[in-house]
């Protein structure tokens, strides 16, 4: 009887990239505010990564509308309890924060750097929001499985954190920035996020029970267990413990986390589209 909304690949990408953008930004903000001067490279990578990603998110969000030219209708009408409404708002506001932080990440002036840190403490809240709200959006629909899951937002947020940190780590590795202490710290932070994600996923599945069947069995089952749980969470978590010393393993771990984050959004969104 129920009807799926027909959200497909562009929404999967939107959820995935939005998670990374949010995760990379709040990681950068935390590194910037609580880390040492040497962690500034981490912060800069995070800020600079979140800017293009949130721009892509905006494009994906608008392009997926039936009437893209009426995008502004969901900005002009503000419903504070509606994830779709505040989500559209948050993408715009967060985009502004990523832009300012990216620009200020090049400053050498102390006062501007301290301004950047203060700004990022506020922007961070929008980063968290962007990473998690998409899950709350799904869990407040009438669809089975989506609507049954109380922890969809929490799971998407943890995944946004782990994928955001993994993306920052991977960029540092590829650009040769993995030599310093920042690399070690981002690896540890990513490890925490992965552990949170594993725990949240476990509770998520336990609470759902048979309602999780669209992803845990049938067509999407192998991808969920093999691609997300096995290769996208457990394996990278194990590799991560060696990533501090053997940097290539840390990079492989980060790449697997990114893959897992994509698979998570993919199985959750597509399994309900029948």
């Amino acid at each position: 009887m129920l009807k799926a909304p027909g959200w497909e690949m562009s929404i999967v990408w939107y959820f995935f990239l939005g998670g990374i953008a949010g995760g990379a930004y709040f990681t950068a903000a935390i590194a910037d505010n609580f880390g040492s001067l040497r962690d500034r490279s981490v912060a800069r990578v995070g800020y600079l990564l979140s800017l293009p990603l949130v721009a892509i998110c905006g494009v994906l969000l608008i392009a997926d509308l039936g009437v893209p030219a009426r995008f502004m209708n969901m900005i002009l009408h503000f419903k504070f309890w509606d994830p779709m409404s505040i989500g559209a708002w948050a993408v715009g506001v967060f985009g502004g924060f990523t832009f300012v932080s990216s620009v200020l990440s090049f400053t050498s002036s102390d006062s501007l750097a301290s301004l950047r840190r203060k700004i990022s403490l506020v922007g961070m809240l929008f980063g968290f929001f962007l990473a998690g709200y998409t899950g709350v959006l799904l869990s407040n629909s009438a669809m089975p499985f989506w609507g049954d899951s109380r922890l969809m937002g929490a799971l998407f947020l943890a995944s946004g954190a782990s994928t955001g940190m993994a993306a920052v780590a991977l960029i540092m590795f590829l650009s040769g920035g993995s030599a310093g202490e920042g690399w070690h710290k981002i690896e540890v932070a990513d490890r925490f996020s992965m552990i949170v994600e594993v725990i949240v996923l476990g509770v998520f599945l336990a609470l759902l029970g048979s309602a999780a069947r669209p992803i845990t069995s049938g067509h999407f089952g192998p991808l969920f267990w093999g691609g997300l749980v096995g290769a996208g969470l457990i394996l990278p978590l194990v590799l991560n413990f060696f990533g501090g010393r053997v940097r290539a393993l840390g990079a492989v771990s980060a790449a697997l986390v990114l893959m897992g984050g994509f698979i998570l959004r993919y199985v959750v969104v597509m399994s309900i589209q029948g």
């Binding site: 009887m1 009807k3 709040f26 609580f34 209708n73 899950g135 969809m152 929490a154 947020l157 943890a158």
Partner: protein, 258 residues
């Protein structure tokens, strides 16, 4: 708000002629669709962007008072819920409640985000590819604002679909249930008539001859948005955990922060 209007669909009177379905198509200029093979007389299988009234043909073994197979008919439609999931979901304000208590989509405002499609507990709203907007029964918004009843109610030859003030129709419906029970239809019941019941009551409510599940209707549909606070708080909890993890990882040792 004006006095709440309603449609009462008494399925015990339905003869399956589909006059309502056709009248709806004609009045709302809904256009043709390719028929579907559903295994029975029903067409289409679901509500679509061009089918707002849909006569369901339900074959229910053992549902007759004497234990025979019951061939149940039900002319289904948007329920115009007092607590409407589609309305709460809509980020543009395109979905609104009229002064008569009905739920309507403003086609000039909808931007086709399709959140309403996923937020109707009855699978009513449908996306139209041509217009890029969401479509559903309007309760003949144009007609009721000009003193006419909905086209489906007007066309129904057996008064299976009745239109009027909600309080009057509910009283009528309750009497009808008693009559049917007296005739041996022990499962005769109203669906959505009780404004203290699920979704605050449906402004298009039904009299059914069997349990809601027999008609593929949810027993106790719930507002999809009821968990938004809990889900958000749990997400914030997750944010605090990963945030603390990152702070621990980046913290300057010995100084406990910057």
């Amino acid at each position: 708000m004006a006095r709440t209007l309603a449609m009462f669909t008494d399925t015990s009177l339905c003869i399956g002629c589909r006059a309502c379905q056709v009248a709806c198509k004609q009045w709302n200029e809904l256009g043709l669709e390719v028929p579907e093979w559903t295994g029975g007389y029903q067409n289409h299988a679901h509500f679509t962007d061009k089918t707002y009234r849909l006569v369901r043909f339900v074959e229910a073994p053992g549902a007759k008072p004497n234990g025979d197979l019951a061939w149940l008919l039900m002319s289904d439609v948007c329920k115009h819920c007092a607590q409407a999931g589609c309305l709460d979901a809509c980020p543009t304000g395109a979905i609104y409640r009229t002064e008569f208590g009905t739920v309507n989509i403003n086609q000039d405002v909808c931007n086709g985000c399709r959140y309403c499609v996923a937020s109707c507990p009855f699978g009513v709203v449908s996306f139209n590819e041509q217009t890029g907007t969401a479509k559903k029964c309007t309760f003949c918004n144009d007609r009721i604002h000009n003193g006419l009843g909905p086209a489906c109610a007007k066309a129904c030859p057996t008064d299976s679909i009745q239109f009027g003030f909600r309080d009057e129709l509910v009283a009528k419906a309750n009497k009808r249930v008693e009559t049917l029970k007296g005739m041996g239809f022990k499962d005769a019941q109203l669906y959505g008539a009780d404004s203290g019941g699920f979704l605050g009551g449906l402004n298009a409510f039904f009299l059914l001859l069997a349990k809601p599940a027999t008609y593929n209707l949810p027993d106790n549909p719930k507002l999809p948005q009821r968990n938004v606070v809990v889900d958000s708080l749990l997400s914030i909890g997750s944010a605090v955990l990963v945030g603390l993890g990152a702070m621990l990882a980046f913290r300057e040792r010995g100084k406990g922060g910057r």
